[in-house]
Symmetry: C2
């Protein structure tokens, strides 16, 4: 991922709802043979570190939001590609960025709720990815 | 809307980003000839009032989230229908619900940022709807 190695955790394929997330969150909707919503959550420190690493210098609040949006787009694009290979074609909405403390996200109509944490090289905080999805019948 | 009259405000067709929202927020992605993200924001009081009105009695935290998700689905479905009539066919992701204090949402790739407030009959707080969108070229 943009020159940063991300190591996945063991994941939780039955992540409880609502899911608690903190910091700078990216979100993108999926629609098609799979409908869903992907949330990525970077702690403020992690978002700042990653943005500075990518931009090669200081990063403003806007820069950090842009980097989080772009990384969320890349992560969800990768997921879309894998879903497509499995026969679940879908298209993506635009990425939006949500900032706040102690954010709770849920999606009751999602039969699938998967959460995983990724450790990024050289960063102490983890990146959390929460996917809510429902397969088309 | 489910027996509750909603009166729109004058709206802001160039709503600044990031947009500040509070309380219980619904969100849904749009993808197709228009790509975007719709956020609805109910204050805690408004969400509770509307849920109790719809359910005809007391409403738990989960009930309130369900009602906000369903209303967001209805509002976005209505928008989708209008966009479709204008030639911008699109499909919707599933609704998700975000709770938190002082939430900031933004979508840099959205050339369209529209915000409006709706007054619901018998409720002092307003419902805020923020739409981020980009038209397909």
């Amino acid at each position: 991922m943009v020159g940063i190695t991300a190591n996945p955790g063991s994941g939780n394929s039955k992540a409880p709802q609502p899911s608690s997330l903190v910091g700078v969150m990216g979100s993108i909707g999926l629609s098609g043979k799979v409908n869903g919503m992907v949330y990525t959550a970077f702690s403020d420190t992690l978002a700042q570190q990653v943005a500075e690493k990518i931009l090669g210098g200081s990063a403003s609040v806007q820069d950090v939001s842009d980097v989080v949006a772009e990384l969320t787009n890349m992560i969800t694009g990768n997921l879309k590609s894998q879903l497509c290979d499995m026969g679940f074609n879908c298209s993506l909405s635009i990425p939006s960025v949500v900032r706040g403390d102690d954010i709770q996200v849920s999606a009751k109509t999602a039969s699938i709720s998967v959460k995983n944490e990724y450790t990024l090289e050289g960063c102490p905080d983890t990146l959390v990815v929460q996917v809510f999805a429902a397969l088309e019948h």
